[in-house]
């Protein structure tokens, strides 16, 4: 155990002292802050503010649409009303093709050919890709036309308002679902990112001894599994340190009134429960150890970074599988499939944690998942340490599968 500690401490100290670590630790929260500030700035500006023209002979319809588009929930457009005529069509077309003009498009409303039928709507846009303007127009037209239809059928304006008022579903009994969902998602991606980032670091640090040929000195006093375990813990501690720094930075950021305003009033009370945070930490540690030990076995099999890149796949595929399963689990977190999949050791860290934040998970499931993960970690380290020792001492080359199987039987 003392040797594992020595290896881990050296790994930690050497990594934390590098400029790269310092830069990443400082720059990533800065980038995070910049991203939040940038997106909030953009969010404030995402109301559609294009300039369009509406051509109609129905004055009432035109005015209603105009007011809806200019002061709507999602749009702050500038709307001109035109009377239909060949001249106005020609003039509008000319404006659309003139790059100096700000006109984004025009909506041509033709009177219904039969009485009682709906008018036809035709939108001519400058750019076919201006989807948000098109969407705003469509939803406004929908609203206005149905309102007019209702008015014609004799309902009062007040009655119409009551009917069309948006429904607010109360979900407070099961907690704020939306927030819970986003928090679960956030944790999922955080874990995914960190595993990808630091898993590969573990593999690299194991190759380090091979390329610098230090392993032979080390193996004269310690065993390969001590070396691998020390490496996994050392690199893991670096990852945890960095995440803690970021978490603190994030908390500081979140406590500023700026961020609170951004999230809206609903997020003012803590969106993350204590249990959720504890589960996250628990599964984070296990997920990290598990994926690091897989990465360690990849490092044990290879002798250079290039070879390692080719085996990257083994780390990515289980993670990608979890990503796919997330969608199934979101819909039915208590289904048999979800329960089975979240017990697979390679998926537990991501999926079991995800489930705990969506639904009630029986304690035995959590205990079982942790037992399975622990066994897997020990097994993977055992296998990799054999591959490591036999591989470097005998050949110094990348083994193929039958060779690996044969090596496992060597003493």
């Amino acid at each position: 155990m003392h040797n594992v500690w020595l290896i881990a401490r050296r790994e930690y100290m050497e990594r934390v002292r590098t400029k790269g670590f310092l830069l990443a630790t400082i720059l990533i929260p800065c980038a995070m802050a910049a991203l939040i500030a940038g997106s909030s700035y953009l969010m404030a500006r995402t109301k559609t503010n294009s300039h369009i023209a509406i051509v109609t002979s129905d004055k009432q319809l035109g005015e209603d649409l105009k007011s809806k588009l200019e002061n709507g929930k999602h749009s702050e457009m500038q709307v001109d009303l035109w009377k239909p005529s060949e001249m106005s069509r020609a003039s509008l077309n000319a404006q659309l093709h003139n790059s100096g003009s700000k006109l984004a498009g025009y909506l041509w409303i033709a009177e219904p050919t039969q009485a009682g039928a709906r008018p036809t709507f035709e939108y001519h846009a400058r750019s076919a890709g201006d989807v948000s303007t098109e969407d705003s127009i469509e939803s406004s037209v929908d609203a206005v036309v149905s309102r007019e239809g209702l008015l014609k059928r004799g309902l009062s304006a007040q009655e119409i308002d009551t009917i069309t008022a948006p429904v607010d579903i109360d979900t407070s009994s099961s907690g704020n679902m939306r927030v819970a969902f986003f928090v679960a998602y956030f944790f999922f991606f955080l874990m995914y990112m960190v595993i990808m980032l630091y898993g590969m670091n573990t593999a690299r640090s194991i190759i380090e001894e091979k390329t610098s040929r230090v392993f032979e000195v080390l193996l004269a006093t310690i065993t390969p599994d001590q070396l691998l375990a020390g490496k996994i813990l050392g690199v893991g501690a670096v990852g945890l340190t960095q995440i803690l720094v970021w978490m603190v930075a994030a908390l500081v950021l979140a406590s500023t009134p700026y961020a609170a305003g951004l999230m809206g009033g609903g997020a003012a009370q803590a969106p993350v429960s204590v249990a959720q945070t504890l589960y996250f930490l628990l599964y984070f540690v296990f997920g990290f150890l598990l994926y690091s030990s897989i990465a360690a076995s990849l490092g044990a099999m290879t002798n250079s970074e290039q070879e390692l890149q080719q085996l990257n796949l083994f780390l990515v595929v289980p993670l990608a599988f979890c990503m796919v399963m997330v969608f199934t689990i979101v819909k039915a977190p208590d289904s048999v499939l979800a329960r089975v999949v979240s017990l697979i050791p390679f998926c537990s860290p991501l999926l079991m944690n995800f489930r705990t934040s969506l639904t009630y998970v029986a304690p035995w499931e959590i205990v079982l998942s942790i037992v399975l993960m622990t066994l897997t970690i020990l097994g993977v380290i055992w296998v990799s340490s054999r591959i490591y020792r036999v591989g470097i001492l005998m050949y110094g080359k990348k083994p193929n599968l039958p060779e690996i199987l044969r090596w496992l039987r060597y003493s």
């Binding site: 040797n3 020595l6 050296r10 050497e14 590098t18 380090e208 001894e209 610098s212 040929r213 230090v214 392993f215 032979e216 000195v217 080390l218 193996l219 004269a220 006093t221 310690i222 065993t223 020792r389 001492l393 005998m394 044969r406 003493s411």
Partner: protein, 310 residues
């Protein structure tokens, strides 16, 4: 009680036999040379001594006990392929390696500084390993193997890549360690070094022990029937009946006699004939001669098509 005792060890990798039926013993206070051409099984043998690999059959005993990892704290090992952490400072590195060998930090630091002084690399202490020359790195590795004051020092090709001045320093240090009663084992394929340093040797060829014993014993087994002569005047003595074979390189002759006691007779005959000698020396067979002769005598050598890359 021998420090190292290998009994009939055998190691096979896949189909290649690395070591076969090898037995040897190293006594305390000896300088032991493990000789053999490249790929003959020297490194495999050493790795089995320190438990990096386990022999398929046979037994390894260290310090009179069957091998166990806890005994490794009393062994210092310098591997053939040198390696240090490139980005680490020299002192940190030595302290780390010392701690891995069971020293506490203070002792490791103190001894590391002492050794740096002894090996004349004080100026390197604060530098990163990658900034140092190859020779310096090798000295650091040498120190790393000795920090914990091992009773058995195993060095795989310790002199390769060192300049003569540093090789001399290293040899001197090894001799001092031997006089302190430690057992030193080193492997090499450079025979001239072994001749000066070793008390005992073992020659292995293709995984088998072909010759072993104390230096005196080994050399005694071979007759002193060779003469080197530097002369002027008649070279008639080269055709004396006791001369088996002679090469004359313009006044420097290498002579092989039929028997070692014939030397005086040949010399007397030559002087009587008026030949003047600057030098007439009966020489021992060099270890290199013995090595080549021994290897050539093995069955494997014939199999190999008569090549030795010593």
């Amino acid at each position: 009680m021998p420090i190292v005792e290998l009994q009939n060890i055998r190691k096979v990798y896949d189909t290649k036999v690395a070591v076969e039926g090898l037995s040897l013993a190293i006594e305390p206070g000896t300088m032991f040379g493990l000789l053999g051409p490249n790929g003959s099984g020297k490194t495999s043998t050493i790795r089995m001594m320190i438990g990096m690999t386990v022999p398929d059959s046979g037994s390894v005993r260290l310090f009179g006990q069957p091998f166990q990892r806890s005994l490794l704290g009393r062994v210092g090992y310098l591997p053939e392929e040198r390696g240090l952490y490139k980005k680490m400072k020299v002192l940190d590195q030595l302290v780390f390696l010392g701690q891995l060998h069971g020293l506490d930090e203070t002792t490791a630091r103190k001894r590391a500084l002492g050794w740096c002084e002894r090996m004349e690399i004080v100026e390197a202490i604060g530098k990163k390993t990658e900034e140092l020359s190859k020779g310096m790195q090798q000295k650091i590795q040498f120190i790393a193997a000795l920090l914990h004051e091992p009773e058995l020092i195993i060095m795989d090709e310790p002199f390769s890549g060192l300049d003569p001045v540093n090789a001399e320093l290293l040899m001197r240090t090894l001799i001092e360690l031997r006089s302190d009663g430690k057992a030193v084992l080193f492997s090499t394929h450079r025979m001239d070094q072994v001749e000066k340093l070793c008390d005992a040797i073992a020659i292995i060829y293709r995984g088998r022990l072909v010759l072993s014993g104390s230096m005196r014993e080994v050399k005694g087994r071979y007759t002193r029937n060779r003469v080197q002569a530097v002369f002027t005047g008649s070279d008639a003595f080269l055709r004396h009946p006791s001369v088996l074979q002679a090469n004359n390189y313009a006044g420097v002759a290498e002579i092989t006699l039929t028997a070692s006691e014939q030397a005086q007779e040949v010399l007397a005959a030559a002087i009587a004939n008026g030949t003047q000698f600057q030098r007439f020396e009966v020489i021992e067979p060099t270890l290199e001669d013995i090595f080549i002769e021994t290897v050539k005598a093995t069955a494997e050598y014939a199999e190999d098509g008569g090549r030795v890359d010593a």
